[in-house]
């Protein structure tokens, strides 16, 4: 896996908010098909890191290189077309749409028809719509929401909403998928289902970057775990080795039991 060049390379990444250094000199690599977990205590800079890689926040130093292309200067909406797609920790569905339509928004940058073709009502634009709907249905099936295809998103439970987030992100055909605390707020059985989904996403060759609070969830799932503390990376290794790392143990002193249980 590591024999190839990493899909995502982060070098010297930093973000300052006024005098506060939220993230400092961060290096990360993620390979295709790999699951990288990022953990850290509150205020470690996880969310800031996530936002920068997702394109929602511009770094103040360092660079993000995706598939050999530097992402500096790429607008926020340019990340999904290039293959970096995220889910939200607090589900952000499009409330006025059905489950299927929500997923179809994910295909936004993959739709082949132009505005002119749509206005003229050409056969090819109608066909593209039908294909998009069929593809959305198969993604809805994949995450296990088949019976809700035509449902209003308001009728979904929190856990189902999380699954919708994933289906919508997959619709954008990502090569790197970013999960922002995906297990937060899920029941044990929903967590298990989520684990299966993340594993099968990675098996498709999609790189996965997970930011998590739930140690147990991350430890069993991630190929590699990077630990942040006070905006710096203090460890980056397999889950088992990270747990033995003295600095990590110290940083997590309060949560030591969590780590051991993992």
């Amino acid at each position: 896996m590591t024999a190839h060049n990493p899909l995502l390379t982060v070098r010297g990444l930093g973000r300052r908010f006024g005098g506060l250094h939220a993230v400092t000199d961060l290096d990360l690599d993620v390979h295709a098909g790999e699951i990288l977990g990022v953990i850290g205590p509150n205020g470690a800079g996880k969310s800031t890191t996530f936002s920068m890689i997702a394109g929602a926040l511009a770094p103040t130093s360092g660079e993000i290189v995706f598939d050999g292309q530097p992402m500096a200067g790429v607008p926020s909406h340019g990340f999904a077309p290039r293959g970096i797609v995220r889910t939200f920790q607090h589900n952000k569905p499009f409330e006025s749409m059905s489950v299927r339509e929500n997923v179809m928004v994910g295909m936004h940058s993959r739709m082949p028809s132009s505005l002119w073709q749509i206005l003229a009502g050409t056969g090819s634009s109608a066909r593209a719509e039908r294909e998009a709907a069929a593809k959305a249905d198969s993604l809805v099936d994949f995450v296990g929401l088949s019976e809700f295809r035509d449902a209003d998103v308001a009728t979904l439970s929190f856990g189902q909403g999380r699954l919708l987030e994933i289906a919508r992100a997959l619709a954008a055909e990502p090569r790197l998928m970013l999960f922002d605390e995906p297990a937060a707020g899920l029941t044990a059985s929903e967590c298990h289902r989520l684990e299966q989904i993340v594993l099968s996403i990675a098996k498709r060759g999609i790189a996965v970057l997970l930011i998590e609070h739930d140690m147990r969830f991350l430890m069993s799932l991630a190929d590699r775990v990077a630990v942040l503390n006070f905006g710096r990376k203090i460890a980056d290794d397999t889950a088992a080795k990270v747990q033995q790392h003295p600095e990590v143990v110290e940083a997590y002193l309060g949560n030591l039991k969590d780590l051991q249980n993992a």
């Binding site: 909406h77 999904a80 569905p93 499009f94 928004v105 994910g106 936004h108 505005l115 954008a172």
Partner: protein, 321 residues
Amino acid sequence: MKSLVRYIVAALVLSGVAFVLGSYQTDVYRKLLLWITLALSYNFLFGICGQVAFSHFAFYGIGAYSVVIFITQLALPLPLAVLATVALCVALALVVAIPATRLAGFYLALATLAFAQLFIVVLNEGGTVTGGTGGLTNYRLPDIFGVAVTGPWYTVAIVLLLLGTFAMLWRLERSWFGRACRAVRDNPDAAVAMGVDARLTKVLAYTITSALAGLAGMVYAFVDNTVNPAIFSQESVFQLLFMVIVGGAGRPAGAIIGATVLYLLPLVLSPIIGHHHALVFGLFMVLVVIFQPRGLIGLWDRFISGRQHRQAQVQLRKAHP
């Protein structure tokens, strides 16, 4: 194919009506069709994209004035005048949209309201070009291929305008563009994360709907063969907003119902209660907003879902007596 048949049937029925109406009824019918056309495009901008813009009626006026000015003062042939008017509407829409779509909600409303006011000022102060407060009169539609399109045949042209506008907006709404418009309204962050360029989407939606309003204005110009500032006053701006809200914002069927009810209401009421019809109108508005925020189309939805519910219950009772 099926939808094409539906459009043809609708065109035949709506056009057929034009041939049996008297002259007063024809006038009412034509203006009703134009109001519906305008409400449809405004529904897309306000109801679907969530842009609280008050410039829609101004673009209707810009379309009407421009086509007349291009034909009578610049002596352009009709097809060129139409193209030039559309181009002008698109250009002006971009000039308004590019700065205005940076604003949201209240501020967008203010900026577009200012634009609409400015348009009225320009009409009043435009000298011989706009004809000042008296507007422009004494012109007529140039012959098309040597044929004077008048009477019911001009009503047919309005029907085609309505159906063309409806078809375009219907397709837009059911495309990636329509989904992007709603996504930007529902949750801009999530829309951007899915690759939607939020600003471009807003600018395009504003420009397309404003151009459609301009197109309707062009057709309006030859209904009365007179255009003046009073026609495009603020009253009509809000009338349009109320039509979409009363019908049910975001729903084309709502726009059609809203435009029909609010346009015909004063015509029906004023012979009975005179100017008090404005009072009824105000009361009606308040009642709808308080008790039926989804508009009249929401009542219909409730009726349908209620019936489905009852049918399901009847079947359940049959299955388990």
